[in-house]
Amino acid sequence: MTATPMPETAVTTPIADADHAPEDAGLRPGGLVYGAPAAAPGETMIAIDGISKWYGDFQVLTNCTTKVAKGEFVVVCGPSGSGKSTLIKCVNALEPFQKGQITVAGTKVIDKSTNLPKLRSRVGMVFQHFELFPHLSITDNLTIAQRKVLGRSAEDAKKRGLDLLARVGLSAHADKFPGQLSGGQQQRVAIARALAMNPVVMLFDEPTSALDPEMVGEVLDVMVELAKEGMTMMVVTHEMGFARKVADRVIFMDRGEIVEDARKEDFFGSPRSERAQTFLSKILQHRRYGDPIDTAALSQPSRIRILPMPSR
């Protein structure tokens, strides 16, 4: 991993402070209501209950059920086309689904009385391609939704935005535009932008897949920091090393189904399904060419076979 740009001493405001949400934080009565504290540790923050989704005749999600507790770090993995990105986009109704229900901090996603924009504003989302607003400066990127959606004053929004920018180590770039930053920097701004809204949950959709390898570390560092502060996170990623280190739980998906939903020790130690085993062995085979073979890993009582590179 590259050196973390985060100054250790500058930890004044925690990145995640869902518990100190402003008075307008309520999504609707009964949910994460008007200033009431978010769910206590261990309480369910995201409940995905039997959802299915079709594109025409093609079923992309089949009866997916899982729960994410407050403060939990859940990694969603699986081969491409397995529906993991779709699943995570259903959590804030970015993708509609036809069956089942998702509840975020007590608020039902599919419900006529739910104010979807308001719900979404409290569910942070980070995309593979950053999706910063290209025509706005970094500062404006961080403040526009705070002002227009949460109704914060320009000063408050700017203060919080710049605070978070400092936390991701990019204070010097406040007046630049997204096109002037590297991919890794843009992704850190995107994380800060999501955090500026005081989210109760953060969703990451392959946050490092579009980055040059040397920039992956700086983004993962920010996410680790966030996890340490107790943010509830659901992360779609192919970074299995990262998942192994940070995740509490791993959800493995294949062909639109949740095949495995296990603590990370169990998942990496002894995946039960054959599909997960195949997936893991494929991913772990991708050692860098010339790396020494990890003989210790080979002798682990794991059912995954790590194949040596073919000799030339």
Partner: protein, 271 residues
Amino acid sequence: MGRAIDHRRSTTDAANDGAHRGHRVIQQGGAMNYNWNSAIFFDLSPEGGVTYTQTLLTGLKWTILTALCAWAIGFSVGLVIGVLRTLPSKTANLVGTVYVELFRNVPLLVQMFLWYFVLPEVLPTATGDWLEQLPYAPFYTGVLCLGLFTASRVAEQVRAGIQALPRGQRMAGTPMGFTTAQTYRYVLLPNADRIILPPLTSEFLSNLKNTSVMLTIGVVELTAAARSMQEFSFQVFEAFTAATVLYIIINLAVVALATLLERFIAIPGQR
């Protein structure tokens, strides 16, 4: 009517002769069919106390005024119609599509006649009479007609601009909690507008030149002024050379302004 046709034939012949003989014709004065007379611009026109130059400049003034008013309508209506065509709602799409196909597929000249000659007859008598007696009726009718015609073309540019944006950009506004209207206002339109500024400049130039069609319903804009100068003075070369030069100057000025605007709204770090 017959007279007008004869007259046009004679001027065309004169123009052909002139073209065959090249500039020598102009220099030799009396020995040729056409007599270039620069001083004509300072002669008084029979319209009462004004020189032909003033006639042309008054025409230019109306051309600019008409173009600006029509553009105000064309741009704002076009923006709305263009957005309608990109919304997820089927009804909105249909409204937008019907508008665009109606207004861009009928020749501007025919639309001009429909608005000016047909509409007052179709309306209830009182309303129709009121319309016809309105001061500057041709001007208002022409501006409205040209504006709505231009709107159909602007709408297509707007639609193309929005659809050219990466799908993720729409995706980026929504999870921040923006409503659809806010996503358009704060994300999609500012970016789409930057993409479509160059074709929109062309559209504005077309709009400016299309004002000349309004001479058919009696607005004395630049082309009509040149025509009136030609009819009174028989100096067809001078009249239309002047009109040509004025059109080019004003259009080049628009292009220069658009280039400045383009530079002004350019996003740092892009291209």
